[in-house]
């Protein structure tokens, strides 16, 4: 084949362009640490990366939801613990005052009155701007001074995974006025104390026990919810790790491989430059005297 000067220069140019383009690619991979820097680098892989990234951001959101639900359950637990203590106090006063001799009625009346006030207050517990015992009526106080429930039987629902919801108790009437209306029991106790009606006082002891059971049942439920939330939290964290690993495997470049590739490419580029310098320089004129 007849080889001409422009063939040589064209070949040199073409090779240099190709080598430097590949070198630039390798450089990009090395500096971004990623194998896929644009959709065309690996169309299928790019689609997968988008899917993984979506899943990861959903998992992050679920994690936030779970944290928020855990906070809510913890808050609920604190309030219910207070409620239970108050009911026990009330029961103790009832037992104490159920004796036939009236002793220290005035102090008892004040205390029971206080207990009732505190219970209403606990029933109206607010987490942020939300009344946690008002059901869906979260901006309305659950109980008024007379102990009337103004909420509904709504609940607090939280997304913990795709199409999975967990419901947290928010129905104050179930806690305070389920089988046993604790406010009514307190009112009756007060009437008994004020009218010196020992039978009436004694009748309330059992009701307080029942009210306490009722609260304990809700507390047990919350405890179970909390454990469930922690379980889902751990699962979410594990899933997150798995997906992060899958994403890395698809998207990330292997550093050792990248560096070796880059060095090879650099060498190839330098060799083309070297060859070009040797080929382009001499012509017959260098050798004619």
């Amino acid at each position: 084949m007849r080889i001409t000067n422009s063939m040589m220069t064209a070949t040199v140019k073409r090779n240099l362009f190709r080598q430097s383009e590949q070198l630039a690619r390798k450089q990009e991979t090395m500096s971004s640490g990623k194998r896929i820097n644009r959709p065309s680098d690996d169309p299928l892989g790019f689609g997968k990366v988008l899917d993984y990234r979506k899943t990861l951001s959903s998992l992050d959101q679920y994690d936030r939801n779970i944290q928020s639900a855990k906070n809510r359950v913890e808050f609920l637990e604190t309030a219910l613990e207070g409620v239970e203590e108050l009911i026990v106090d009330a029961k103790n006063w009832a037992v104490d005052q159920a004796g036939s001799e009236s002793m220290d009625r005035e102090a008892a009346i004040t205390s029971v009155q206080n207990i009732r006030d505190q219970l209403v207050q606990l029933g109206n517990s607010k987490m942020g701007n939300v009344y946690v015992f008002s059901g869906f009526q979260s901006l309305t106080p659950a109980f008024d001074a007379t102990g009337t429930y103004n909420g509904d039987n709504g609940y607090y629902s939280v997304m913990t995974a795709d199409n999975m919801e967990m419901q947290v108790e928010a129905d104050g009437s179930r806690v305070f006025q389920g089988a046993e209306d604790v406010f009514d029991a307190l009112d009756q106790l007060l009437v008994g104390l004020q009218t010196d009606d020992v039978t009436l006082i004694r009748d309330q002891v059992d009701r307080f026990d029942q009210a306490k059971d009722q609260v304990e049942m809700v507390r047990a439920e919350s405890g179970a919810k909390y454990e469930q939330l922690e379980l889902v939290e751990r699962q979410t964290a594990k899933l997150k790790l798995t997906f992060e690993e899958m994403m890395d495997r698809t998207e990330k470049a292997v550093p050792e491989e990248t560096i070796i590739d880059f060095n090879n490419q650099e060498l190839a580029y330098e060799m083309s430059l070297n060859a070009a310098a040797k080929i382009i320089q001499p012509t017959l004129m260098n050798f004619l005297s």
Binding site: P39, S57, M159, M285
Partner: protein, 469 residues
């Protein structure tokens, strides 16, 4: 009658012929870097001999013609591949620009914005009456709409840019056609006189090559050396002595269609039948790829609007409707039907408490059922006749763009290699080699020197004869 003066004639002819050869060598050296130049050579042959005793005697050399070294089949082949190269290079450059719109390998694209939008509904579900959550949701909704708007606007901008390229390319084609007609004239004039029109032919071949990169062409040459150039549907661009114009007309969608103008000035639409060249590449990007992506983006936007609104309108907000006295319901979240027009409903933008988190009027404000239903929409098979989620539809679109780009790059690279290969072959036949020219130069110079020596010898001989007297 060959005599001593006959020898002088031989020497003179030799000098003149070698000088021509050196001249042509000079021309070759001068054009070593001229694109499309074919090397030339002087064809030397012995001049007419004279009958003499004891036999025929030569009368020296003459330059019969100046020839260009050329393979007549390679031109057509290069044109064909060049059309494909032009097409794929144009397609690749267009798609690479489009790819930027869909490139979210570092995040911050539509995929992420969509994820954030759905996540905001979950945040709202965690605190259905929260003003900050509602405001955040509004912002995310606006960001989603704006991101889709921007993508659509960018795609349309690319369509408009390539529309301009198409108009420019058509002008370029017309310019080249006219030049080819001029060269046709010159070539036939030179060749009717019986000479080779080497340089004009090189120029014309170069123009045909440039033309073939812009649009697919077929060419043939008549017996006067004039070339006829035909393009899409066999419509001629050049049919000496006429050059036919291409032109553009604005079509119904506001973009330019390519028309071929006949001698009477009537335009014939050839947009769909252009088969190669940059023109085909620009048209493919504008009417094919970009339009397809736009359609799919529109489909995504309109489905998001419909689906989100269906759920939102069934829910209840916190604002109390002045006429009914109940919480507002039936409120759309988004308005618009295309990627370009999608936006958050103005009423919601003005009052975030109109966002419907609750499923029933009675359960306002603590109920988050509707917000959760909305968040679940992310995983619902809403697209492609209920077979794909929003996210998968979009990631399929983005990875589709990626494979279109990588396909176009592969084709462009292949055609590039083909054209280089053919160019190399052409160069191998027609290209100027400086080494070769230097050898020729030395060769012709020596011949010239020898002829001069002949004259000196004849001079000596004549002196000898004169001194005899």
């Amino acid at each position: 009658m060959p005599d001593i003066y006959g020898i002088l004639n031989v020497a003179t002819r030799s000098l003149l012929t070698q000088q021509k050869a050196i001249d042509v060598t000079g021309q070759n050296i001068a054009n070593v870097n001229t694109p499309g130049y074919s090397r030339q050579r002087v064809v030397m042959e012995p001049s007419t001999p004279i009958n003499f005793e004891p036999g025929q005697m030569g009368t020296g050399v003459k330059a019969a013609e100046i020839q260009r070294i050329y393979d007549s089949f390679i031109g057509g082949q290069i044109s064909g591949e060049n059309s494909k190269l032009g097409q794929w290079e144009a397609t690749e450059s267009g798609l690479s620009r489009i790819e930027l719109i869909f490139n979210e390998s570092s995040g911050a694209g539509l995929e992420e914005v969509m994820s954030q939008f759905w996540a905001s509904w979950q945040d709202l579900a965690n605190n259905p009456s929260g003003y900050p959550e509602r405001t955040a949701l509004l912002t995310r909704g606006q960001t989603l709409a704006r991101t889709i708007n921007t993508m659509s606007a960018n795609l349309q901008q690319i369509q408009l840019d390539y529309d301009q390229s198409i108009v420019g390319t058509v002008d370029e084609i017309n310019g080249i056609s006219r030049q080819i007609v001029d060269l046709n004239e010159k070539i036939s004039q030179v060749e009717i006189a019986g000479q080779n029109s080497n340089d004009y032919r090189d120029q014309r071949d170069q123009l045909l090559k440039e033309l073939s990169k812009l649009i697919d062409i077929n060419t043939y040459e008549n017996d006067q050396g004039q070339v006829t150039v035909m393009t899409a549907n066999g419509n001629p661009l050049v049919q000496s002595p006429y050059a036919y114009e291409l032109s553009t007309v604005t079509s119904a969608d506001g973009l330019q269609d390519v028309v071929w103008m006949d001698r009477g000035g009537t335009g014939i639409d050839i947009t769909g039948s252009i088969g190669g060249g940059e023109l085909k590449g620009w048209l493919d990007v504008r009417d094919g790829f970009a339009q397809d992506y736009l359609d799919r983006l529109d489909e995504l936007a309109s489905t998001i609007v419909t689906e989100v609104n269906a759920i939102h309108q069934s829910g209840f907000g916190m604002t109390i409707d002045a006429t009914t006295g109940d919480p507002v319901t039936g409120q759309p979240f988004f308005v618009g039907t295309t990627a370009a027009t999608m936006e958050v409903d103005a009423a919601i933008a003005g009052d975030v408490n109109r966002i419907a988190a609750a499923a029933t009027a009675a359960s306002v404000p603590g109920d988050n059922t509707n917000a959760i239903a909305m968040a679940n929409l992310q995983g619902v098979l809403t697209m492609n006749s209920a077979s794909t989620t929003f996210d998968s539809y979009y990631s399929a679109l983005a990875s589709g763009v990626g494979s279109d780009v990588s396909n176009a790059s592969a084709n462009a690279e292949y055609e590039n290699a083909m054209v280089s290969h053919l160019e190399n072959y052409r160069e191998s036949v027609s290209g100027v080699s400086l080494d070769e020219e230097m050898v020729n130069l030395v060769k012709f110079q020596h011949a010239y020197q020898a002829a001069a020596k002949l004259i000196t010898t004849v001079d000596d001989m004549l002196n000898t004869v004169l001194n005899m007297v």
